[in-house]
């Protein structure tokens, strides 16, 4: 028997709760699907009928511009019906619990819920009580899987493979869900991951994830193929982790001078929103090595891929 006329593939989970547990093959499937989805964004009619009749609820308990907009555009390009629930206008301000809010939304029979919440583990919780497919759009300091997937997609557009690349991730390692998802994804795909930040912002057990941790930025950046800057998340900081933002920039900020230590074709990435002059100098953010806006553009394609792969199953028959 030769291969079937139409290759059919699936993710093993019906939710996307995190990168944890995803195999290299599953990650590659999402990235390959995203490659096909990206072309749709370049058409005059930027819409395909794949998710016609599916209802997707974007449930955001935390402020977000980029991620929410990106998901909404992705949903609309796939013809899904979308609904945005933002905290400011929801019953949460009247004291309703997360579970009650979710169950009430579920009662209206959506097919998928895209969830962002400030508490780690909320997506796992909802996945146990909801029938809808749950997509994690960032939960507390835990995971932000679609961000890691779009980062990998952006790297893969410019580098032949993720395996063997030196990736330096610099910044607030303690509060970053982007970091955790990226570490899990990049190590799964065989990259050499270095993480760098002030000692006060390096989680004690970070080496358990198979990364090299350092507080010397030059060491992390030297020979790097990719440098990812993380935002200093002042809103999540309860203590004084470093003396001042100015000092942070002097020691850990990405400047052109520092960047010269990296490979000549280094990529500069940032998940946004950027604090210019804190973790990254403007001339680097806007410079020739920066792929920061490509990351944003690719986010739509990657989220389309995830939505498509989790939205349901097709008949497995020849339809020539």
């Amino acid at each position: 028997m030769s291969a079937p006329a139409t290759a059919i593939t699936a993710l093993r989970s019906r939710h996307l709760l995190g990168i944890a547990g995803m195999t290299p093959e599953e990650i590659t499937l999402v990235l390959d699907t995203a490659t096909a989805m990206k072309e749709i964004g370049s058409r005059t009619v930027k819409k395909v009928p794949a998710l016609r009749g599916k209802t997707v609820v974007n449930l955001f308990f935390e402020p977000s511009t980029r991620t929410r907009t990106s998901f909404e555009i992705a949903e609309k390009r796939l013809s899904a019906d979308t609904l945005n629930v933002a905290i400011g206008t929801s019953s949460v301000v009247k004291g309703e619990t997360l579970v009650d809010t979710a169950l009430n939304i579920e009662a209206m029979q959506p097919d998928m819920i895209v969830l962002r919440h400030s508490s780690s583990g909320t997506c796992h919780l909802l996945s146990r009580i909801c029938k809808s497919a749950i997509i994690n759009a960032g939960d507390g300091t835990h995971e932000h899987p679609t961000q890691a997937l779009l980062d990998a997609f952006t790297i893969r557009e410019r580098k032949p493979t993720l395996a063997g690349l030196k990736v330096a991730i610099v910044g607030d390692l303690l509060h970053s869900r982007v970091l955790r998802s990226n570490i899990l994804l990049l190590t799964t795909m065989g990259a050499d991951v270095w993480v760098c930040g002030p000692p006060t912002l390096i989680p004690a057990d970070i080496r358990r994830f198979g990364v090299t941790a350092t507080s010397r930025i030059d060491e992390a950046v030297e020979g790097a193929d990719v440098v990812m800057m993380l935002r200093i998340q002042l809103e999540r900081m309860e203590g004084a982790y470093f003396p001042s933002l100015r000092e942070y920039f002097n020691v850990f900020g990405m400047t052109e001078a520092r960047l010269r230590l990296a490979k000549p074709d280094v990529l500069i990435m940032h998940p946004g929103p950027m604090n210019r002059g804190v973790e990254i100098a403007s001339e680097v953010a806007d410079g020739p090595y920066s792929v920061i806006l490509d990351q944003v553009a690719n986010g739509v394609a990657v989220r389309m891929a995830v939505l498509y792969l989790l939205a349901g199953g097709a008949d497995h028959e020849e339809t020539t």
Partner: protein
């Protein structure tokens, strides 16, 4: 497992179709080929080469993936999805005469999806359908304009087009039972 077309036969058939294209369209002016992934794309590229040999002119050639337009998507709440591949149509289809190319014409559902997909790219002057094999059993009112071979089949049989580019050799095989 009878071989219904061998490499020579496929080659001669595509040459004949290329001549028919030139004859019916009085040249290749405003024509463009769009192959349906996967094997339709290879057939479209071969036709483009033959058309170039006959007329000396290049015919723009694109690749269309119809997966996201299939009518059997999302029929189950969970389960595997067909693999989506890239569509590459690097030219405007507005006012062009589009030659849509697929390997096998069967239910007509792929063609229906391809027509919907093409229309999203613009407003072609016309769309003509080219297939290497027409095996019958239509479920939709679809008819090809150029047919390599009409092949009467049983429903439980399957037709496999194997091409050098994807399968290492050129042949069309009729199999009893089993998915194609």
């Amino acid at each position: 497992m009878p071989v219904v077309m061998d490499a020579d036969r496929i080659g001669r058939t595509l040459t004949r179709i290329a001549h028919e294209i030139v004859e019916r369209n009085k040249g290749v002016e405003a024509l463009a080929l769009v192959g349906v992934r996967t094997r339709g794309v290879h057939i479209a590229r071969r036709l483009a080469r033959t058309l170039k040999e006959i007329t000396g002119d290049d015919v723009p050639t694109g690749a269309l993936d119809i997966t996201l337009y299939r009518d059997d998507l999302m029929r189950h709440t969970v389960g595997p999805q067909p693999l989506v591949r890239s569509t590459e149509i690097p030219f405007s289809i507005d006012n062009r005469k589009i030659l849509l190319v697929d390997d096998v014409l069967y239910t007509g559902r792929t063609v229906r999806a391809a027509l919907d997909a093409l229309i999203d790219f613009g407003r072609p002057a016309s769309i003509q359908l080219i297939v290497l094999v027409d095996r019958g059993h239509r479920e939709l009112p679809v008819k090809a304009d150029y047919v390599g071979k009409n092949l009467p089949t049983q429903l439980e049989e399957s037709v496999q087009v194997r091409l050098q580019e994807t399968d290492g050799e050129d042949e069309v095989v009729l199999r009893e039972g089993g998915a194609a």
